[in-house]
Subunit: 209 residues, 2 copies
């Protein structure tokens, strides 16, 4: 079972690595990081370099696609090579999925037209502008269309556990959760917009670059 | 403020990228991935390549160290270069920390002698053999000694949020949580050994490679 994770300049690392870490626990899964060219791409702030081992034209029949987000998505909203690749591979995947603003790229490729979907809370308007209907959920599933979208950054871990359940079985997904010891105990409870007070929202606005 | 994340062959990607993703949200933080040599190292299964931008001898005064785990830790338990580096930088750090089996390396360097600490549930005996006293907690803090250890893989995210609180302030840590939308909703509740039934434990044993 091949999982393709597209990478591009200024992607958000955890968007890609969260699902990677869950999915790579499944013995029958092979994961390939795919990009416009072979070699390194750098994360949103440039401080992390990750290798693309394949070009889009070398990965033509992935069983699963997981599109990460990041500020780098914005310049790709009219990138013919990536969007054509998404349109070409999607009819043959078992699931085509996104994390965070990766859903902007699925929408730009036309895959979310008229569907409900989610994204990072900072990209809601843009997602709707691109033809999807935003819903405030951590993971949005369209099983007949074989499309899953997840909210900001860390939500990709939750989505990937569900993906393993869909692809293999519940017990394997639970075992993957145990292997990555995903028993979250965040020290605060302000990980979504409704849970964050105004001071935290204002501080987050300062952190956004 | 410089955060050094050592990488090595067969590291666990989420151990490194979870804390990276939290810490890089803080504007005053610079993160450097450091290794035995410049260039790419591959994750535990080899499917992900990440770049080391600096050698250990080039990063001599990091403010924070975050040591990830992975099966690759085992062959480093007597690696003089890495262990000497940990011993040399620790007296000058604000915090020296580990995720998952990264604590085995802190222990091998002598930094956990007689201290309580945590690690992945599969490495408890080895951690104790190396001189630490295991406690079943997600994050173990020793503020006077400036050492934090966290449990398996995903626990590094929780630890990193606490680190931001210690390094900057609570509001900034909460804003980082909001930015990565860390409002976990795992589809199952078996992310720690006490929560997993025997069938899940057995399946996890099959997944371990």
């Amino acid at each position: 079972m091949q999982v393709a994770i597209p990478l591009f300049a200024r992607f958000t690392a955890l968007d890609a690595v969260g699902p990677y870490e869950v999915l790579q626990r499944v013995p029958e899964v092979e994961i390939v990081f795919v990009g416009h060219r072979h070699g390194e791409v750098r994360s949103d702030n440039g401080m992390l370099g990750v290798t693309c081992d394949a070009r889009f034209d070398e990965v033509l029949r992935p069983d699963v696609v997981v599109v990460p987000g990041g500020v780098g998505t914005r310049v790709l909203l009219d990138d013919a090579e990536l969007l054509d690749w998404l349109r070409r591979v999607h009819p043959h995947t078992r699931f085509t999925t996104s994390v965070c603003t990766g859903s902007l790229l699925l929408a730009a490729a036309g895959l979310l037209d008229g569907l409900t979907a989610t994204t990072h809370w900072g990209a809601v308007e843009l997602l709707e502008h691109l033809g999807a209907r935003y819903v405030e959920q951590r993971v949005v599933e369209h099983l007949p269309q074989r499309i899953l979208t997840s909210a900001g950054v860390s939500s990709g871990i939750d989505m990937a556990l569900r993906l393993v359940e869909l692809l293999v079985d519940t017990e394997t997904a639970q075992a993957a959760q145990l292997m990555i010891e995903y028993d979250p105990q965040p020290p605060f409870d302000c990980g979504s917009l409704p849970k964050a007070d105004e001071a935290v929202r204002n501080r987050a606005a300062q952190l956004r670059r």
